[in-house]
């Protein structure tokens, strides 16, 4: 099977300009990361803040050029520093951001939000742009009358649906989702995760899903990469990583994640009761 996206030894440095007292320096945010995602699969990138997971997402989404390493999209090497990617390449990879309040232009009507990618990257006539935008609204569970509304008229979950719809307008093969549900309430999170699963089945989409929430990752991922301080410390299928985490950092991450298991709650409640009885 061919990989939709593949990265070899991806390195990313950020330049930190010097201030009045500090020297300019560079920070290595990614220290040589390898990955490969097959068509129709989901790679989850898990890590804490500062681990480099969003940096990697931006490299994969062709937003930032990596300092080193090779990125291949559908087998073709892509170097956005050397050649600006054309509409074809841009159409293949789309991104959904964390904060649906910040990623939509407050002055742009939803219809225009959805038609803009077509206007920029394709020669689709205006009437068809509109048709496709309306069809996409229905696909993500919104109504045709939402076409002429502004982002502020929608809830967080609806806005994230709009952002997903915008990303899908160009029929991409790869969707990079940077913490798409972490700004949403639990019940809305479930709806958006269901929507993503449906869309993946329908369009054969490949996802790169960045998250810090292990319970979400366990639900959605096929492959998991645990990233810490710019290095992929653990990589494997979801079953492997969750059943048998080998790296100490992964274990630490698992141990820190709160569990809602009834047996665990019973043990804790019992321990507290005993501690109290001991005090009295």
């Amino acid at each position: 099977m061919t990989a939709v996206v593949e990265g070899k030894a991806i390195v990313q440095d950020y330049h930190v300009p010097g201030g009045m007292f500090a020297r300019a320096r560079s920070v290595r945010a990614l220290k040589g990361v390898d990955f490969r995602v097959e068509k129709g699969k989901t790679l989850a990138i898990v890590g804490e803040s500062g681990s480099g997971k969003s940096t990697l997402a931006r490299v994969i989404a062709l937003i930032d050029a990596p300092t080193g390493g090779e990125l291949r999209i559908e087998g073709k090497p892509v170097d956005i520093r050397a050649h600006r990617p054309g509409p074809d390449m841009r159409s293949k990879v789309q991104m959904v951001f964390q904060n649906p309040y910040g990623s939509l232009n407050p002055r742009q009507k939803i219809g225009n939000v959805l038609m803009e990618p077509l206007a920029i990257n394709t020669n689709v006539p205006a009437a068809e742009q509109r048709e496709r935008a309306e069809a996409m609204l229905a696909k993500v569970g919104l109504q045709p009358e939402h076409f002429n509304r502004y982002p502020h008229m929608f809830s967080g979950g609806q806005r994230q649906r709009i952002a997903i719809a915008r990303a899908l307008m160009l029929n991409p093969s790869l969707l990079v989702l940077d913490e798409p549900v972490s700004a949403l309430d639990l019940s809305v999170q479930a709806q958006v995760l269901n929507l993503l699963a449906d869309l993946q089945d329908e369009f054969g989409l490949t996802y790169v899903f960045v998250s810090h929430d292990l319970s979400v990752v366990r639900y959605i991922a096929d492959e998991v990469m645990v990233i810490s301080k710019g290095e992929a410390v653990e990589q494997g299928t979801r079953e492997e990583v969750f059943a048998n985490p080998t790296h100490p950092y992964t274990r630490q991450l698992f141990a820190a994640t709160p569990v809602t298991d009834v047996a665990a709650i019973r043990t804790r409640v019992e321990r507290r009761r005993l501690a109290r009885a001991g005090v009295q």
């Binding site: 639990l186 929430d213 639900y219 991450l253 820190a256 709160p258 709650i265």
Partner: protein, 279 residues
Amino acid sequence: MALLNIRNLTVKFATATGSFTAVDGIDVSVDKGEVLAIVGESGSGKSVSMLAVMGLLPDTATITADEMTYDGQDISNMTAVQRRKLIGREITMIFQEPVASLNPSFTTGFQIEEVLRLNLGMSRREAHARALELYRAVGIPEPEEKLKAYPHQMSGGQCQRVMIAMAIASNPRLLIADEPTTALDVTIQKQILDLLMKLQEDYGMALILITHDMGVVAETADRVVVQYKGKKMEEADVLSLFENPQHPYTRALLSALPENATGDRLPTVSDFFTQEAAR
């Protein structure tokens, strides 16, 4: 007897489009040394009810309650002077954004010593010694150095530790924590929750934890109140809530947790309400 007792609390906000009821007839009570979790999604009024207790709501809010007592004293009719004796000493609060809760222009040491001097009448020297002691109690590394650090020089987890140090400075009997770990990474969240639970046990204070995270509830609470759209849906001890949730909304919330997923689809809260309606 309950330490804090609130009956039939209603909070209304006057808005441009009329009155909006954020909290609608909520009862809350917490005993000495108890950990109560208030769970709800955004807009459920979980923070507003506690802000009402603290007197931190804006003038547009109208607060009514049948009873609002702390340790037998009525807090709804207190004068500002009486209230200040209570709030910040007996009852303290920490918030979601630790970095934003601190003043960026002063060192964290100055800010905590200010609390000690103004609230507890300590001298500079006493305040400094006590601040050092508190920094050790909340596990800030190199406490002597960190007293001289500005908030931006510390991590989010450390800033939350400073906030906790300030909140426990007066040995309060009730600490209200409003989403104390939401802005933090899971490993830091674990440390902060462990710290709060340890302090709660050591000092025997009551803790009200406001959160949207069922995992946090499972790891900390003795008793749980589930709120939705300003109304109380369910109240139960933590074990019965997870083992045998009574209200459909609670069941919906628990089944929407990705770790409880059975099969390919996550049940959503709206699925649940349609099912209930069909029944």
